[in-house]
């Protein structure tokens, strides 16, 4: 049995195709169960990919069944779906899954959501010994990449840089309160990112109250007139500002003593909305658009190196899995070797029982233990060699086929 993969993702298929073959959690569990008739199967379906991981004795038949299942999901003939599909096997399939779990194949590299989705797919899949180990290793790889590299902390836009900075100040953003000044799309985008990380909206202040109310309704807060912003700002932990005002909308005098409670101010407007002198106040940290751009540039420069590190982790973990797989294939041979040796040991002991005479329990235990140890020591070297040979053979094994 080997690992096989049939799937489609944002790299090959447009959203019109992806949405047709996407399945929910129950559908994924049902599909995995259906495909695992003579082996194992896991269905990983997210908004960016639908992938079927299989382990079956007859690889070609399993791949054919998986292709047919995807075509059935999409409600199209298999030939029509063909250009959007990829099929991987052996180590290529393993490396692919490990890269997926690490977030390296995601639209936003390093994003954390995919690890949870891989876990769900694993838990709902029809797994046996092979896919169980594969997915556990994939989850381990995903965690390792996030622990040992900074790939997940590389914001690619100013709004994601603002969210990352907020996390740097507050840690968990759950319970942090955001104030939006100006109801424009740029500020709303940054606020949405913060809300996605657990923060909650406290108020939207805008020159036009109707627009403020509209955004507040959408994001779950209240609206306040721009004139009353100084009173309201005390309740906020994060202020995101993006008005088209020519003057400062919030000045140093508008910010009251924070008493140790940090206030992160994100000024996305040009000309600036927030008085730079606010940054001199204790517990206040003000970032304007240039500061955020600098953060993005710095992290983009570092991202390439982090990406390479993450790739190396995925590849090394895949090699570890390959070695495990290779040694697993010699397990029956090792078991029969041990069984034969045990038969010989018992036979020789039975023959010797005549001249050994009557032994006490303690003496019999000593003889049993001694002969077992001799057999184990004799077998140790050949077993290690057998495993090494299996690993070496796997290293020089057939190339992984990649199609699609």
């Amino acid at each position: 049995m080997n690992v096989l993969l049939v799937g489609t993702s944002h790299r090959l298929a447009p959203v019109e195709v992806r949405e047709r073959v996407a399945v929910d959690a129950d559908g994924a569990a049902e599909l995995a169960g259906r495909l695992a008739t003579d082996g194992e199967a896991v269905c990983l379906s997210t908004c960016n990919r639908t992938e079927l991981y299989l382990a079956a004795p007859d690889g070609a038949a399993a791949v054919h069944r998986a292709t047919a299942a995807l075509a059935e999901l999409g409600g199209v003939p298999a030939e029509e779906l063909e250009p959007y599909l990829y099929r991987l096997e052996h180590e290529a399939a393993v490396v692919h899954l490990f890269r997926v779990a690490a977030g390296l194949d995601s639209l936003v590299p390093g994003e954390g959501e995919i690890l949870g989705q891989v876990r769900t797919a694993y838990e709902q899949g029809a797994v046996g010994p092979l896919l169980d180990r594969l997915f556990r290793d994939a989850l381990h790889t995903g965690k390792r990449v996030r622990t040992e590299t900074a790939i997940a902390e590389s914001p690619g836009t100013t709004s994601s840089a603002a969210a990352a900075l907020a996390a740097q100040v507050f840690g968990d953003l759950g319970g942090s309160r955001i104030a939006i000044v100006g109801a424009g799309e740029i500020g709303a985008l940054a606020a949405r990112r913060l809300i996605k990380r657990g923060a909650e909206l406290t108020f939207v202040a805008n020159r036009t109250e109707e627009r403020a109310q509209l955004l507040a309704d959408e994001l779950g807060g209240t609206s306040v007139p721009l004139a009353r912003i100084a009173d309201a700002i005390g309740a906020a932990d994060i202020v995101v500002s993006s008005t088209s005002s020519a003057d400062y909308v919030v000045t140093r005098q508008d910010v009251a003593d924070r008493r140790g409670r940090p206030l992160l101010l994100i000024d996305l407007a040009v000309p600036r909305d927030l008085d730079p002198a606010i940054n001199e106040l204790p517990d206040c940290y003000l970032y304007d658009i240039d500061d955020l751009e600098a953060v993005v540039q710095e992290t983009l420069a570092g991202r390439e190196a982090e990406f390479a590190k993450a790739e190396a982790i995925a590849v090394s973990e895949a090699a570890r899995f390959r070695d495990w797989l290779a040694t697993r294939e010699v397990v029956p041979a090792i078991a029969s070797l041990r069984e034969r040796a045990e038969q010989i040991r018992r036979g020789e002991l039975a023959k010797a029982s005549g001249w050994l005479g009557e032994l006490s329990d303690r003496e019999r235990d000593a003889v049993e233990s001694l002969t077992s140890q001799i057999v184990n020591k004799l077998l140790h070297e050949p077993i290690v060699r057998l495993k090494e040979a299996a690993v070496a053979q796997e290293h020089h094994g057939p190339e992984n086929r990649v199609e699609g």
Partner: protein, 259 residues
């Protein structure tokens, strides 16, 4: 024989210190090596202390070198509580070289020997020393946390573009941990002081007790400033001042209360 355990401890702490330094330059698998160095070293040091305790007749860390050994174990133990998280590896860079150096000093000065002749049976003295050392270890780690917090605050104020690449703990996490560590350590210092005061009828008031009361007041003031008035940065700076006070008290404790 038990003294020989110091070598794996020194090796593990030294390895952790070097790996932390390497990890600071290029974050990655060196961080994991460092963490394992701390864990294994601490376990080996625990075994060393247990062996010392079993062989001694009474409290075995009555020499200044012995108490330094115990102090290092307490500091690394306090760091280990949350120090294995990748985000606290920079703190490890501050803690582990100092721990390795202090342990080496302790070894050279005979801190690993089982000093049966000097082992103490005075429960109050043992309580006084043990709790004071635990408190000082906690204050030392709190100072490290406060230093990290002040550094991060400075980076945020100066809007350093590379701040996210440093993978520091969040500002609020550092603040909360500093306060919690000081609060727990202050509790230990209170017990140490009570034990010291209980011994007073027989031994009288000494300058060190006065110093310890001063330290208690300083750390109580830090907690008050942080929790009641919200002066976060000032509290962190005072935690650094507290480290200097702790250093002199530790020195005094080792020179006057132990052999």
């Amino acid at each position: 024989m038990a003294e020989q355990l110091v070598w794996p401890v020194l090796f593990a702490y030294g390895e952790a210190a070097i790996a932390y330094a390497g990890n600071a330059r290029s974050p990655g698998s060196l961080g994991r090596l460092a963490t394992w160095g701390v864990r294994i070293g601490w376990l080996a040091q625990t075994a060393l202390l247990v062996a010392q305790a079993m062989r001694a007749d009474g409290f075995p860390w009555t020499t200044w070198a012995g108490s330094l050994n115990l102090f290092v174990w307490l500091v690394v133990g306090a760091y280990l509580i949350w120090g294995c998280s990748p985000r606290f590896r920079l703190l490890g860079l501050a803690v582990m070289p100092v721990a390795a150096a202090l342990l080496a000093v302790s070894y050279v000065a005979g801190g690993m020997e089982t000093a049966t002749a000097t082992a103490s049976h005075d429960v109050l003295l043992v309580g006084h020393i043990a709790f004071a050392l635990a408190a000082f270890a906690g204050f030392t780690v709190a100072a490290g946390l406060a230093a990290l917090e002040l550094w991060e605050e400075r980076l945020l104020k100066r809007r350093r573009a590379g701040i996210l690449q440093l993978r520091l703990p969040s500002l609020m996490t550092l603040d909360q941990l500093t306060v919690a560590t000081i609060a727990v350590s202050l509790g230990a210092l209170t017990v140490a002081l009570l034990a010291g005061v209980a011994r007073m009828p027989g031994h009288g008031f000494d300058l060190l007790i006065g110093g310890a009361v001063g330290a208690w007041l300083l750390y109580a003031a830090i907690l008050y400033l942080r929790l009641r008035t919200g002066r976060r940065a000032l509290a962190a700076r005072l935690a650094l001042v507290g480290l200097a006070v702790v250093f002199f008290l530790q020195l005094g404790l080792m020179l006057t209360h132990v052999a």
